[in-house]
């Protein structure tokens, strides 16, 4: 064994329950990722841990399943002309820096306040980011739906103002159809990476950031996020694999499901109206935020900030995980329902012509 951690790692035995669970979660997570550009990862890590997988292996395997999934999704959506590769690669590289920054912050907090403090920090970030960004995206989606906008103009006031600022180096994105200074891509990408390092789903900042700060349409933003996820995932996986933490069996089982999902999610984007992506994304974000709220008591208890008995803590923890799964399920069912509804309508329309 190379690393010192390698000695103590126990890789779990697989059974029918484990395999089925990972396959299904993989599929649903993949479906959501293919559609909104990210997601699913936040359920997989705690999910694997609940099966008895050690934390580091769960994180490493999750990371390792993320980049092939993002790759397949990105290729599929590139065929539909939705991916801005240049934007994705540039942001991916900066996001990678963000990931390293995020890990440094995590380490600093871990040293100062210990494991419970670190968990609390993660949960607080989770709740804050998801509530703020999620409600903003939700408001926008509802506004678009009310206004019956068929297509997403993509440019908010802020994005338009930023695009007007000529600050070297300016970059032209062809698919996204915009020209913007690299200095405005940088913070969005860094934040994406930092969030990815903290809560495993960078897309919750990346996609809204691209939509509202850079001015990309939601379709292109969610597709380009897959490229960013690929770059970040590959970088992360190489590091984790270097320490021998990746359980390839878990990765392959999750991938078996999630590649089915990601293809279907990508197909889904060609049917729905643009606000639907924002809507699904915001719904998932807000429900996950609620779920993390239930996880807070456990960490507060561990830090002796509040006093709760063990049963209520364990109930809250289970509830938290349950709500998280529910978030994914709801997201997936909205996508599937819309996909099949739109397909029916299109078929009917074709028959009428």
């Amino acid at each position: 064994m190379h690393g010192p951690i390698g000695e103590v790692i126990q890789f779990i035995d697989l059974n029918a329950y484990t395999i089925t669970f990972l396959f299904i979660v993989g599929f649903i997570g993949g479906l959501v990722s293919g559609f909104i550009g990210s997601g699913g990862a936040f359920v997989l890590t705690p999910g694997m841990m609940s099966l008895g997988v050690p934390g580091t292996v769960a994180v490493a395997s999750n990371m390792c399943h993320k980049f092939p999934k993002a790759l397949v999704g990105a290729i599929k959506r590139y065929k539909y002309g939705q991916v801005d590769i240049k934007l994705g690669l540039i942001m991916g590289v900066f996001a990678e820096i963000g990931v390293q920054l995020g890990i440094m912050i995590q380490k600093a907090i871990l040293d100062k306040w210990g494991q419970a403090g670190s968990n609390l920090y993660v949960s607080v970030i989770f709740v804050l980011v998801l509530v703020i960004v999620g409600s903003f995206v939700m408001r926008d989606a509802i506004k678009m739906k009310r206004a019956k906008m068929e297509t997403d103009v993509g440019s908010t006031g802020l994005a338009q103002r930023l695009q007007k600022i000529e600050l070297w180096p300016m970059m032209t994105m062809k698919t996204a159809n915009l020209r913007i200074s690299m200095w405005f891509l940088l913070p969005v990408a860094l934040a994406t990476g930092m969030l990815a390092a903290t809560i495993a789903v960078g897309g919750f900042i990346g996609v809204p950031g691209m939509m509202y700060i850079i001015g990309v349409t939601s379709i292109v933003a969610s597709a380009t996020e897959l490229v960013i996820a690929f770059v970040m995932g590959l970088g992360g996986t190489l590091i984790w694999a270097y320490y021998g933490m990746v359980d390839i069996r878990l990765v392959m089982i999750i991938l078996a499901g999630s590649l089915f999902g990601v293809q279907l999610g990508a197909i889904g984007t060609t049917y729905v109206k643009d606000y639907m992506i924002k809507y699904v994304m915001a719904t998932i974000m807000l429900i996950v935020a609620v779920s993390r709220l239930f996880a807070l008591p456990k960490y507060l208890n561990e830090l002796h900030l509040i006093a709760m008995n063990d049963t209520s803590v364990s109930i809250a923890t289970k509830l938290s995980f349950g709500i998280m799964c529910l978030a994914l399920l709801i997201g997936a069912s909205i996508i599937l329902a819309n996909l099949f509804k739109a397909r029916r309508l299109e078929k009917a329309a074709m028959l009428n012509v």
């Binding site: 390792c64 092939p68 993509g154 190489l238 694999a241 990746v246 390839i248 049917y271």
Partner: protein, 301 residues
């Protein structure tokens, strides 16, 4: 105006003049027999016929190009030489060329049908190589090609550089209108548009990649102990899991893609094209002029 390729400009005449010359020469040589004049006007398989060369690099020629060629040939009393050029003969040789040949047959059947109703004769050639070279070669080998009409996908400069006769791209503002009743999947492009039995092709792919994926999974899980020992060694061995997941994403990715396609779940045909650059909605109350859907000739040969 018509502009000719420079090096040939002095030797060639404008199509209209050529047509007149054509008739006059035939009348010169047939002073004694009046019957032959009639034959020169009627489309017939004699060697004196003039041709419109219609070139495409796609398996299915666009229908508005066919319609245009047939109409013009009918009015001028010309014949048509339809040429399908396979510009990538070495790429994915077996499957692609088979699909191309199949698409070519379908396309020609449609063309013959259109031409027959207008009493126009269509000859067909399947060629390999670069568009420009094929056009240049055919124009020299075949007599009386008056002008070349090119389908979408061919750059007019490329065709004109090698062509001794004028080259016209045939454009239309609404391609769908012309192809709707026949619908040879005009919304799709390239290789993917070549087969009409795409469902069957997806099924084949699905089975092939499904088998490959199961082999890969079978291999990893049959030797899990060995695999886990080496894959978690760390260091240089990090390449192993990364390479494996890349293989999984290729095989399983293709499998899942063709799986949904074989089930008939594919991307919406309407929206994919418009998603990249959505048009900003105009709020003007002024009624926009009706779009002109006729095929049109762009003259910059």
């Amino acid at each position: 105006m018509l502009i000719y390729p420079k090096h040939k400009a002095t030797h060639k005449l404008q199509p209209a003049n050529t047509a007149m010359l054509n008739e006059s020469t035939s009348s010169h040589s047939t002073v004694e027999e009046i019957g032959r004049i009639a034959r020169a006007v009627q489309p017939n398989p004699s060697r004196e016929r003039s041709f419109i060369m219609v070139v495409t690099r796609n398996g299915h020629m666009s229908e508005h190009v066919m319609d245009y060629a047939v109409n013009v040939a009918h009015r001028l009393g010309y014949s048509i030489l339809a040429v399908h050029v396979d510009t990538l003969p070495l790429f994915n040789r077996s499957r692609r060329s088979r699909l191309f040949a199949h698409a070519m047959q379908e396309s020609m059947a449609l063309f013959q049908e259109k031409a027959a109703s207008n009493e126009v004769i269509v000859e067909h050639l399947g060629e390999l190589g670069k568009i420009g070279h094929v056009i240049g070669r055919l124009c020299r080998a075949k007599k009386r090609i008056e002008f070349v009409a090119i389908d979408k996908g061919i750059r007019v400069e490329e065709a004109a550089r090698h062509s001794p006769v004028p080259v016209f791209p045939v454009l239309t503002t609404q391609q769908g209108v012309f192809s709707k009743p026949h619908s040879l999947s005009s919304t799709k492009k390239g290789v993917f548009a070549m087969s009409t039995t795409s469902r069957k092709r997806h099924l084949k792919q699905c089975i092939l990649f499904g088998a490959l994926t199961s082999t890969l999974y079978g291999a990893v899980f049959a030797y899990q102990d060995l695999v886990m020992t080496y894959f978690t060694k760390g260091g240089v061995y990090a390449v192993l899991p990364v390479a494996t997941v890349f293989a999984v994403s290729y095989f399983h990715g293709n499998f899942t893609g063709s799986f949904w396609s074989a089930l008939g779940i594919e991307a919406s045909k309407k929206k994919t094209a418009t998603q990249v650059a959505p048009q900003p909605q105009t709020t003007d109350t002024v009624v926009a002029p009706r779009p002109d859907t006729r095929p049109r000739l762009q003259v910059n040969a």
